[in-house]
């Protein structure tokens, strides 16, 4: 049984390579059938905001990529409720909102955690 991995993505989408790197880890893990989870925390929740235009800053469309998670076998996608509320964002359909206690238990449940 392979070890389970939780990736915590906490950087805004266009502020540097972190958001993309987190997604790449998750997709690669999914391709290898790893039990994998993805949590958006802090500015990472901005990745979930609708109607962003990656082309305006000559980037690849991260939002479109995130829609493919299910096809890559990644069904455990979460967003921090506190981070969403703090930024005035409504919980997106693509990620399950979790409170602090639940996130604490989530981190506990995985064998390994990578925070980017």
């Amino acid at each position: 049984m392979s070890k389970s991995l939780l990736v915590i993505s906490r950087q805004a989408p266009w502020s540097g390579p972190s958001a993309r790197e987190a997604l790449d880890i998750v997709l690669a893990g999914g391709a290898f059938d790893l039990p994998i989870g993805l949590l958006f925390l802090d500015d990472g929740v901005f990745q979930l905001a609708p109607h962003q235009d990656a082309k305006a800053v000559q980037q690849k469309d991260l939002g479109a990529n995130l829609q493919a998670l299910g096809l890559f076998g990644i069904d455990d996608v979460f967003a921090c409720s506190h981070s969403l509320a703090e930024r005035g964002l409504t919980p997106p359909a693509s990620a399950q909102p979790l409170g602090n206690e639940d996130i604490c238990r989530l981190i506990d449940r995985y064998d390994q955690v990578i925070t980017l």
């Binding site: 790449d24 391709a31 059938d33 990529n65 493919a68 096809l71 890559f72």
Partner: protein, 111 residues
């Protein structure tokens, strides 16, 4: 630099033979790419190539094998969305070969 000559045009390819520019793709280009791979395109092949173009338009990603199978099953039904059918069409490496013929970048999460 690798190039693929289609009619009067010389199209740029990367070192693995994938189109550098997604927009260079056309039916003729797919045909030429298939010839380079000694593959004869049947309607079953075309169906998958168009599906891959659609996948890329939707997700801006080249799928690895598993997502390709899942997506094909979703769009064309399980009798086409399975590894047997796709392996048979694309010489056992559907994600890599089909992406190449469909003019997509090499799937990054795929060995």
């Amino acid at each position: 630099m690798n190039t693929l000559t289609v009619g009067a045009r010389a199209l740029e390819l990367d070192k693995d033979g994938y189109l550098v520019d997604l927009n260079d793709w056309s039916d003729e280009v797919a045909q030429a790419l298939a010839v380079a791979e000694t593959l004869e395109l049947t309607p079953d092949h075309w169906e998958i190539l168009r599906l891959l173009r659609q996948f890329y338009a939707e997700f801006q990603l080249s799928p690895a094998t598993r997502p390709l199978i899942k997506y094909t099953a979703l769009k064309l039904g399980p009798e086409k969305g399975n590894s047997l059918h796709l392996n048979k069409l694309f010489n056992g490496t559907p994600a890599k070969l089909a992406a190449k013929l469909a003019g997509l970048p090499r799937p990054t999460n795929c060995l």
